[in-house]
């Protein structure tokens, strides 16, 4: 079978930096061994230039594992990307929004997603190690500035990681979201990157998620919000958002990974079972063109296999506790390299923006 070459990349995630100014409790930066890089501005421009090859490309999402606003030339990066005609979105922890609010609006960034873990100062601080009121103020400041400058963009979304320790407080997020005029709240489950976080998962045991969802939904009319819930149990459907969106990810050192999950190396705990995730690259944009990497036979075949769910399911396989394939993402019993067979993102349990 030959899959024809194509240029149908629609969204590219570029990790302009893997540095961050916070050290959150559940972030996998705490658990990985990878080196931390900031992407050279000149190199970024080269990537941007290569993106011209992809005529259907719409969105450049600045983000990976680091904090994009922490990049020393973030405004130049945004400016040049907008000049090239792409939608620009990024995810942020919000700590630097006050500093860049005017610029973000002036440069017409299309969307930002702010991670807020709990609408409760104490819990937030415990998770993030920083002052919650500052984030709230920063987002409010951004929205005020938008009004002042009579601007619509950027659209602001909030992302929350649902855990046992913040579950009771989650419904309050809607009030906060309304107050901050955000358009949607994305709720994800936690992917434990350390064994000690396994007890925080809500999908690990009988959790009455329907009542929880009903409780949240009963308020959405009042606050006019869109709430995106994750799945709270293992369901049949498997769908990769990166593949569905024709997206790719470029790491801060130029490596091209198919998704966030395979961008770095670390250990996941899937329903308590440890799995070594090994960063997987189909090529490096500093060595080859993105177009040639996108059309590599193995990358095309990988996208085809994932799109058609041609991979096993380790997560509920009877052999999962003993099978050697389950120990890493390197390959699986269908012969895939790398393997998505245990991916909780593809199950909708864990969600990315």
């Amino acid at each position: 079978m030959t899959i024809p070459d194509n240029r149908n990349l629609k969204k590219v995630y570029i990790e302009i930096t893997s540095k961050c100014n916070l050290n959150c409790k559940m972030c996998f930066r705490r658990f990985w061994n990878d080196e931390v890089f900031e992407m050279d501005f000149e190199k970024y421009l080269r990537i941007l230039d290569e993106l011209k090859e992809f005529t259907s490309l719409e969105t450049v999402y600045l983000g990976g594992i680091g904090e994009p606003l922490f990049h020393s030339r973030i405004l130049d990066i945004i400016g040049k990307t907008k000049e090239s005609g792409y939608r620009v979105e990024f995810g942020t922890n919000g700590t630097l929004l006050n500093k860049y609010a005017e610029d973000i609006i002036r440069l017409s960034v299309d969307k930002i997603i702010v991670s807020i873990d709990a609408p409760d100062p104490k819990v937030y601080e415990d998770i993030r190690g920083t002052d919650f009121s500052q984030i709230e103020d920063n987002v409010a400041y951004l929205q005020e500035t938008k009004r002042r400058l009579n601007a619509h963009n950027p659209e602001v979304e909030i992302e929350v990681v649902a855990m046992k320790s913040n579950l009771d407080l989650l419904p309050n997020i809607l009030l906060l979201a309304a107050k901050l005029e955000v358009t949607s709240v994305i709720i994800s489950n936690i992917m434990p990157f350390g064994k000690e976080l396994c007890s925080e998962t809500l999908y690990n045991e009988i959790f009455d998620y329907n009542t929880f969802i009903d409780k949240m939904n009963s308020q959405i009319g009042k606050y006019r919000l869109k709430t995106v819930f994750p799945k709270f149990e293992l369901l049949t459907e498997r769908k990769c958002q990166f593949i569905e969106q024709n997206a790719t990810t470029i790491r801060s050192d130029g490596e091209v990974a198919p998704c966030y999950r395979l961008l770095h190396s670390y250990t996941e705990y899937i329903f308590g079972r440890g799995k070594q995730v090994n960063a997987f690259s189909f090529g490096n944009v500093y060595k080859d063109t993105l177009l040639s990497i996108w059309n590599r036979r193995d990358y095309k075949s990988f996208r085809y296999s994932v799109k058609n769910a041609l991979f096993p399911s380790c997560t509920d396989c009877p052999l999962k506790d003993s099978c050697n394939f389950c120990l890493t993402t390197d390959s699986d019993c269908f012969g895939n390299f790398p393997s998505c067979a245990d991916c909780l993102w593809s199950r909708g349990i864990v969600q990315c923006p």
């Binding site: 052999l319 099978c323 050697n324 390959s331 019993c333 269908f334 012969g335 895939n336």
Partner: protein, 602 residues
């Protein structure tokens, strides 16, 4: 494109310290597949028949197959191939774990070790590179200590190590090569060859992936194979649940569970040393080798052990229990752990003790010879806890036992009490209880062995179909097919246990897609036949004759006294003549010109 192979062979000469590379020969690859087959051919062509197995002229090959390191189910095997110090045959000793695939990741299909070092060394193989390093500090150490020392010295816990223990260093005739601390290239004494070269270990760490010629076809073939493995009761239930020790009860019930050095066919205490018992007591979890969906490996722990240990396997549990008349599972686990650390083949170790027990009880081995070591009486648990180390270190009686049961029994005037073929000890099935398996024992090219044509599968387990174990007719053809198919599986780099579920078609499909050679099922079977005949030609070359296709006389003369196979004897002459005939060999067991011409082996 030729896929499957990395395409390179690494040679290291320990006499000169020189290393070199050469390409894999495509024609040999196609004809002999890889691992056992191809490496066996290298020994055949490069090692003189008269070479001293423990001298510098012998070569030692760590050989992977074209499916090793691929995602093929159980694609984690490798073979250690050399001229055997036990009996002179082409020793192909197969092992799982993770070492084989790691070696292949460095970019080499084979590592050929030649010559002999004058001081202890180990090899450190990385991507396209090898380094000969000093091993003086770990010489004399057990396999666990040596492995840990190498990992810490090289500073990477993910390195894979194959090494020998004191047994290999002391040239024990049944010394094993132990990889990943608990997986053994156990039989035919390959560890002693390593020891004779002063090669303590091979450490490997690579980053490459196995190339696959036709990835789409390969994936299709894998799915078919995986579906069959998952649908098969043995591979999806029996082995994962109880490990290979699923067999203790089954074999005992069929009356071919050798007890007290094959004097009986059932063991009254089988319950206490069964897989079921292990699961209820000391089993911690299953453990799978590389790319294995079966996960028959056992991790077990005794209350008084500091660390977890692996195993025991069926053969080990039998050798140290029923064959020695011992019913203590905890002691069996300790003996197994000790053998892994000392680098001993557990089958030969247990059965040599059993042989000594019979010699002792019959008065052929005198009490004075034992010194202060435990009395060699059937049922004496202390024996299996003490003798393995004495053998590995060649202390006291252990020095004589280290020559193997055949030599030991001969020294005491009674070679017939060694339950061995071609000097290699028989494993855990009494041949009187299964005629086909008896024939396989007699004709196995490497000597007494169950994994070169596992006739227990059809005769007892009923896979792929149930045969009457007591019937002689037609067994020659069955044994031939099983031997050839096993040669294919070993040479591809897969585990024999897949054969409970898979057939020649499946092996051909995976191999074709991976290599790009277009094999049919008939062609892979012919390659297996070629490997088998080539090994046979070597045996003839070193002077073996029909007389070596023998079984200990007990099996032809003493009917089984008990159990479901009571009264049975092996009908060896009849079996052999049928077998030679279907093999296309003369009445004396010599391949005919025509046969060799057909296989391209002239």
């Amino acid at each position: 494109m030729v896929g499957g192979y990395m395409g390179k062979i690494l040679r290291v000469n320990l006499t000169t310290g020189k290393t070199s590379e050469e390409p894999i020969n495509d024609e040999l690859a196609r004809k002999f597949i890889g691992a056992r087959g191809y490496a066996g051919k290298v020994i055949f062509d490069e090692v003189p028949a008269e070479a001293d197995p423990l001298g510098p002229d012998n070569k030692l090959i760590f050989a992977t197959g074209p499916l090793t390191l691929t995602a093929a189910p159980t694609g984690g095997r490798y073979d250690v191939v050399t001229k055997s110090p036990l009996n002179g045959v082409i020793a192909g000793s197969n092992s799982g774990g993770f070492f084989g695939p790691e070696l292949k990741k460095t970019g080499y299909d084979f590592l050929i070790v030649e010559g002999k070092s004058n001081k202890p060394v180990y090899l450190w193989v990385t991507d396209d590179k090898v380094e000969i390093r000093d091993a003086s500090h770990i010489w004399g150490k057990d396999t666990h200590i040596a492995t840990d020392a190498i990992l810490s010295e090289l500073g990477d816990k993910s390195i894979r190590v194959a090494c020998i223990g004191p047994a290999g260093e002391n040239l024990v005739k049944f010394a094993a090569v132990i990889n990943d601390k608990a997986r053994a290239a156990g039989r035919t004494g390959v560890g002693a060859v390593m020891g004779s070269k002063m090669l303590k270990a091979v450490a490997a760490k690579g980053t490459k992936r196995a190339p696959v010629a036709n990835p789409e076809k390969f994936k299709e073939a894998l799915r078919v194979a995986m579906d069959k493995i998952k649908a098969n009761g043995v591979t999806s239930q029996g082995l994962p649940t109880y490990g290979t020790m699923v067999l203790n009860h089954i074999i005992d019930e069929h009356g071919l569970y050798p007890t007290n050095n094959f004097q009986k066919g059932t063991f009254e205490h089988v319950d206490s040393v069964s897989g079921e018992k292990l699961k209820d007591t000391y089993l911690v979890r299953n453990k799978a080798c590389y790319a294995c969906p079966i996960a028959c490996g056992r991790v077990s722990k005794l209350p008084d052990m500091e660390e977890e240990t692996e195993g025991p396997e069926y053969e080990t549990s039998w050798a140290f229990s029923a064959d020695c008349g011992i019913d203590d599972l905890a002691a069996v686990i300790k003996a197994n752990d000790q053998c892994n650390k000392m680098g001993l083949d557990t089958i030969a170790t247990g059965t040599t003790i059993a042989c000594a027990m019979e010699l002792y009880e019959k008065g052929f081995l005198k009490k004075e010879e034992l010194g202060s070591a435990p009395e060699l009486k059937f049922g004496n648990t202390e024996t299996i806890l003490v003798y393995p180390e004495l053998m590995a270190k060649r202390v006291g009686l252990g020095d004589k036992l280290a020559e193997g049961s055949y030599n030991f029994a001969s020294m005491h005037g009674h070679p017939e009490l060694s339950m061995s073929v071609k000097k290699q000890e028989l494993p855990a099935y009494d041949p009187r209880g299964a005629q086909g398996h008896a024939l396989e024992y007699a004709t196995s090219n490497r000597g007494g062995c169950h994994v070169r044509g596992y006739m227990i599968s059809p005769e007892i387990l009923g896979l792929p179909e149930k045969l009457d174990p007591f019937v002689v007719e037609g067994k020659g053809q069955w044994v031939r097919i099983f031997q050839d198919l096993t040669a294919v599986i070993d040479s591809e780099g897969l585990c024999l246990f897949t054969s409970f579920a898979l057939g020649a078609d499946d092996y051909a499909a995976m191999l074709s897609a991976a290599t790009g050679f277009d094999y049919t099922a008939d062609e892979v079977m012919k390659a297996g036949d070629r490997v088998w005949n080539s090994e046979k030609l070597w045996n003839l070359r070193i002077g073996m004759t029909k007389k070596d296709d023998y079984l200990p006389p007990r099996f032809m003369n003493e009917p089984l006294p008990d159990g479901a196979a009571k009264g049975q004897l092996v009908h060896l002459e009849q079996l052999l003549s049928d077998y030679y005939n279907v093999r296309g060999w003369s009445n004396e067991g010599v391949p005919t010109e025509e046969k060799l011409k057909d296989l391209g082996l002239q």
